[in-house]
């Protein structure tokens, strides 16, 4: 007899996805991550559009990671037209991106992951007993949003980062305000590390064959932008070669494609993958915490991704303070340089909160002639499905609610971003 167990809509993940597990008397027959978010055709709708117009469309892929999409598309576009931003402008783009990273990590950790571990169905139910944690989450989220407000012009779908630099830069006073507030929330990020160090990393999904992919950061500083991709098996490749090494395949049960390393191997991207590949580039308090807790940052367990995000909160807050210090030391800074839109082709791969996001753009006569985008969740789907299966294989005889919870927790550890864009209430 075959018994299907389904989670129609995985709660507390971004977008619409479900899990389908089919069991029989002998065990697990089938496990599928059903991505039911409709196809959105973002690449196609920007073809033939003016480059500047297309750059305003791409961030709409996701309001959670709009800065990541904006800045990756912008870098690909600038590479295509042969423009390189000044280092101080690049630093400020890093800072804008860090705002996105902080906000995304903290919402994932406190409001999506923590309720599972504390035995609540949602964060609202936690407030009575865990008010401090929710207050910390809001304070940390707020500083991320504020960075995006000041650098990007608004917290979601920022338009201030443009070809050549920024439309307008924050004032010196605003940078000083950000620095003060970043220092204030740093202890909350350290508390987050301590809190998440106590949470279980389920052995059921321990996977010695896990491969991690991350950007090799430019200038030797742990971070977001780079020109090469590092693979945990020791291989490196230039971002321009991404199609040779990251192969997307259509699968029948998902609107999102699955990605494979060198056409056959599953791989992971995200905070854990960054730590696995680039931990030697951490510095400051984050480095100390890494040394203290490195046993919890195991390459072979996707649940370590939650703890890696907690550690990155500390790192990116410290890094943001350093960027602001450097910015103020160089003040005043010219906001942008003139650009000439020439024909060309450019690839950028950056570290979005959930992992690698790839943009390839071809510009012809000022318009987008070719666009290819791969999101982190599309890269993670294949390995995520494998780990959901591993979890299901260990718990298929448990009661269905336990099985559902543990498989959902496995998905949530990847912090998937399936993407939703509509928001309505029903009466």
């Amino acid at each position: 007899m075959y018994i299907p167990i389904t989670v129609d809509h995985i709660a507390r993940v971004e977008g619409k996805g479900g899990i389908e597990i089919v069991t029989s008397d002998e065990g697990i027959k089938e496990v599928k991550l059903n991505i039911i978010e409709g196809p959105r055709f973002f690449e196609a709708i920007t073809l033939g559009k003016k480059l500047e117009e297309a750059l305003a469309v791409y961030p709409r892929i996701c309001s959670f990671c709009s800065a990541a999409h904006k800045l990756t598309a912008l870098e690909a576009a600038e590479k295509a037209i042969g423009f390189t931003p000044r280092p101080e402008i690049q630093d400020l783009r890093d800072l804008l991106y860090i705002g996105d990273m902080i906000e995304s990590h903290v919402l994932h950790l406190y409001l999506l992951v923590l309720p599972d571990y504390l035995g609540y169905s949602n964060p609202l139910a936690m407030v009575d007993k865990y008010k401090k944690e929710i207050e910390y989450a809001m304070a940390l989220k707020n500083i991320g949003s504020k960075i995006m407000d000041y650098l990007g012009s608004r917290a979601i779908h920022q338009e201030n980062a443009i070809l050549g630099g920024f439309g307008k830069l924050p004032t010196r006073g605003q940078f000083e305000e950000l620095k003060k507030e970043l220092k204030e929330v740093l202890p909350m990020a350290e508390y987050t590390v301590e809190l998440f160090s106590k949470l279980e990393q389920y052995e059921e999904v321990k996977d010695k064959e896990m491969i991690h992919m991350a950007v090799k950061p430019r200038n030797g500083v742990y971070g977001i932008f780079g020109d090469y991709i590092k693979v945990s098996d020791g291989f490196e490749f230039p971002v321009e070669d991404y199609k040779k090494h990251i192969v997307e395949k259509v699968v029948g049960h998902s609107f999102a494609k699955h990605s494979f390393y060198n056409n056959e191997k599953h791989f992971m991207v995200g905070a854990l993958s960054r730590i696995v590949n680039n931990a030697d580039l951490l510095y400051g308090k984050a480095k100390e915490l890494y040394n203290q807790y490195k046993d919890l940052l195991r390459y072979d367990n996707c649940f370590a991704n939650n703890f890696a995000q907690a550690l990155e909160l500390v790192y990116f807050i410290e890094r943001a303070i350093d960027i602001i210090d450097d910015t103020l030391a160089k003040w005043p800074i010219k906001e942008r340089d003139e650009v000439e839109i020439k024909d060309g082709f450019g690839v950028s791969i950056t570290e979005a909160p959930r992992g690698l996001v790839a943009y390839a753009l071809e510009v012809k006569d000022g318009k987008v002639n070719y666009a290819d985008i791969i999101t982190p969740t599309a890269m993670n789907l294949a390995i995520m499905e494998r780990h959901v299966r591993m979890m299901a294989e260990k718990h298929w005889q448990d009661d269905p609610e336990t099985l559902k919870l543990l498989t959902e927790m496995t998905v949530r550890a990847y912090d998937p971003c399936i993407s939703c864009s509509v928001h309505v209430v029903k009466l």
Binding site: A11, S63, M138, I156, H423, L427
Partner: protein
């Protein structure tokens, strides 16, 4: 009584953008309006202790005709409204507001009004349906009367 008007919605999804469009008209008229879009948590950072909060958003219902306006006050808003699709990616706006009220005593004391406009179409596009667009003057009047 000091008042903050919260404009919610997604203007890329046709009628779901009505809250934002009404909010902008009210802001031009000089009212204290915060566009939170799909992220209710923005409220926390911009909240200055206003004693009255008026939320404007699109709603889906078959009980009323498209364009009609529904006003709910206080607990009635929290009881009757159900977040259908998550904003801020995990939590409906109403649940988000509940959460913020639990950690901010000033917000917990504020008088809450919800002005919902019945949507006809929630789909990709920036234009409002004729039914919703045609009723914007009435929505404005209702919000202005609530501000007092």
């Amino acid at each position: 009584m000091s008042t903050l008007i919260l404009a919610l919605g997604n203007e890329l999804m046709k009628d779901d953008g009505v809250g934002l469009k009404v909010g902008r008209i009210l802001a031009e008229k000089g009212y204290n309006v915060l566009e939170v879009g799909t992220d209710i948590f923005r409220l926390q950072r911009h909240y200055n202790g206003e004693e009255k909060i008026i939320i404007i958003d699109a709603i889906l219902t078959e009980k009323y005709k498209p364009g009609q306006v529904v006003h709910l006050k206080g607990d009635e808003a929290f009881e009757k409204l159900r977040a259908e699709i998550r904003s801020a990616h995990f939590m409906g706006a109403i649940d988000g507001l509940k959460l913020l009220r639990l950690i901010d005593k000033r917000l917990a004391k504020a008088e809450i009004h919800f002005v919902g406009i019945v949507a006809k179409e929630i789909d990709l596009g920036m234009e409002l349906s004729e039914e919703v667009k045609g009723n914007i003057p009435n929505i404005i009047n209702m919000v202005e009367s609530l501000v007092g």
